[in-house]
C-alpha cells in the first residue's frame, strides 16, 4: 500500500485529504509545516508528498528544495491555492503542480501519475 505524506498548515485541509486518500486506499501521514515534513521523510520516506506552499516558517518551495537534496527520487506534488507560484523556477523540480480546488480529481490523478512513474524499488 502506497504511503502519502500530506503537508499543509490548514488543519481542516489535512483532515480532508487524509479522508480522501484513505478512502482511495492509501496510507496517509501528515505534517503541518516544512520542518515536520522533513523529519517524517528522514524517519520513514513516503512514496509521494503533497506539499502546500503558503506555510509559516519554512514554506513549501523551501521545503521542496530540501526534499530534493534529501531524496531526489521522492515524487513531490505542489498543491497551492495560488497558481502563480509556478512562475518560480524552484517549483519546476516538483513532479506536478496542482491548484487547490473543491474537486479533488486533479490531485488524486496527479498522485496516481507520480506513483505509476516511480521506478520500482530495489
Amino acid at each position: 500500500m502506497a504511503r502519502i505524506l500530506i503537508v499543509d498548515d490548514d488543519d481542516n485541509q489535512r483532515l480532508l485529504y487524509r479522508e480522501l486518500f484513505e478512502e482511495e486506499g492509501y496510507e496517509v501521514v501528515d505534517a503541518s509545516d516544512g520542518r515536520q515534513a522533513l523529519v517524517c521523510i528522514e524517519r520513514d520516506p513516503p512514496d509521494a508528498v503533497i506539499l502546500d506552499i503558503n506555510m509559516p516558517g519554512m514554506d513549501g518551495l523551501q521545503t521542496l528544495a530540501r526534499i530534493h537534496d534529501l531524496n531526489r527520487r521522492l515524487p513531490v506534488i505542489l498543491h497551492s491555492a495560488y497558481a502563480a507560484y509556478q512562475d518560480q523556477f524552484v517549483s519546476w523540480i516538483a513532479d506536478a503542480y496542482v491548484t487547490k480546488s473543491s474537486d479533488p480529481e486533479a490531485l488524486t490523478q496527479a498522485v496516481r501519475a507520480v506513483l505509476a512513474k516511480k521506478p520500482a524499488e530495489g
Binding site: 490548514d10 481542516n12 480532508l16 480522501l20 503558503n54 495560488y82 487547490k100 473543491s102
Partner: protein, 452 residues
Amino acid sequence: MTVERTHAVETSLDLEGLLHAILTCVTAGPGLGFNRAVLFLADDAERQLVAAMAIGPSSPEEARTTWSQLAEERATLDKLLQQPLCDGRKNAFRARVEGLSIPLAETPSHSRGGNPLLKAYRNRLVVKIADPASLRDLSADLREVLDGTEVVCVPLVAKERSIGLIIADNAYSQAPIDEQRVQLLQLLALLAGLALDNARIYKQLERQAGQLKRTLEELRSTQEQLIHSERLATVGAVVARVSHEIRNPLTTIGGFARTLSAHPDEIERVARNANIIVEEVEKLEALLKEMLDFTSTRQPALEPTDLNRVITGLANVHRDELGERQVTLDLDLAPDLPDVFADRHQIQRVLLNLWQNALQAMDDVPEGKGRVLSVRTWRDRNALKMSFADTGGGIAPTALPQIFTPFFTTKQRGTGLGLAVVKKIIDDHRGTIEVRNQQAGACFIISLPIER
C-alpha cells in the same frame, strides 16, 4: 549721455528691441547723431558677423524728409526710443543691409595691417576707415552700402569677449567723424555690449526655463502613468491575496461537501464534516467582515473608557493562550488614569490585533529564550499612551514604512488588513500610532486624547 538713454539700453531684454534702442542712440539727433548705423553680431559658432539691425535713411531724399520731419516733431530721444520697431522710415536701409555678413575666418588680407573690420572686432579697437569702398577685404555688397563715406567701427564687448561690431557713418551730411563722437560711441558700445550679454543670458534662461517646463510636464505625465500602473499592481496584489484567502476555505468546504453527499449514512462522519464546513464558512465570513470593516465609514461611538480595564480584560480572556505559547505577560499599567473618550469595542479590536501580532511574532523564538509581551500605559499631558512590545525580533526595516498600508503583509496567511484597520480606528479617535524596533522586538505606541 543722459541717464534715460543708458537706462533704455541696459534694461531692454528683448533682443530686437535692444538692438533698435542701441542704434537709435547712435543715430538720433538728440543722441550721437550719426546718419546711419549698422550693428553686426557674431553668430554662435563665431564664423561670421551678421547684420542684426540697421537704422538710417536709404537715400539723400529720404534723409532730408526724415530729418526735417523729426525736427518739426521736436522729437526727443525718449520719444524716438519708444517708436515702434516697424517704423516705415527705417525699413528701406534695414532691408538693404539685412543678410550682409563679414566672414571671421582668417583669409589672406588685401590691406596692410589686415582687414580693419576684423581688427576692430578681434583686437577690440575703434577703427576709422576713410574710404571703405576701396577695401577689397569687404564683400561687394558691404562696399556698395558704405560707398563714398568715412565710417567708424566700434567693437561690442561683453565679459572681455567681442560679440559684435557697430559701423556708423555720416553718409548724407558728410560731416567728419570727430574724436568726441568716437569716444561717445565707444562708451555707448560698452553699455550696449553689457546689455546684449544680459539679453543673451535672459534668452538662455528663457530657453532653460522652457526646457525645465517641458521636463516638468514629462515628469508629471510619467508620474501619472506610474500612479496608474502602481494602482493596477496594487489591485492585482489585492486580488491575488484575497483570492488565495477565499480559495483555501472554499477548497475545504467543497471537498467535505462532496464526502457528505458520497456518504450520507455515516452519521458521525457527516456531523464531523458538517462542523468543519461551518468552521470554514466562518473563516470566509471573518475575511469578509475584515474587508468591510476596513472600508466602513462608521464613526466610533465615544464613551468614557477605562483603558486599563480593557487591557486587563483582554489579558484575562487570553491567559490560557499565553500559557500555551509560553509567553510571559509583563503589565505595567499606571494607576489612577483618567478615562478616555473611546469606542470600547473598536479599542478592543485594536488591542486584540496588536496582541495577536505580538504572539505570532514570538512563535519562532526558541522556547525558554524569553517570549515576553510588555504592555504599558501612562499619561502624557493631555493624552493617554500605551505601548505593546514583544521580543519577536522586530520588523524588517524595509517593511516598517509600509506596515500600516492596506493589503501589505509579511505573513503567509492574512489579508494585510489587520494593522490598516488598527491605524484607521486610531485615526478615527484622533489618536496616533507609531511603531519602532527595540532591542528584542517590535514596539507599538498608541496615543489617545483624553478630552473628547
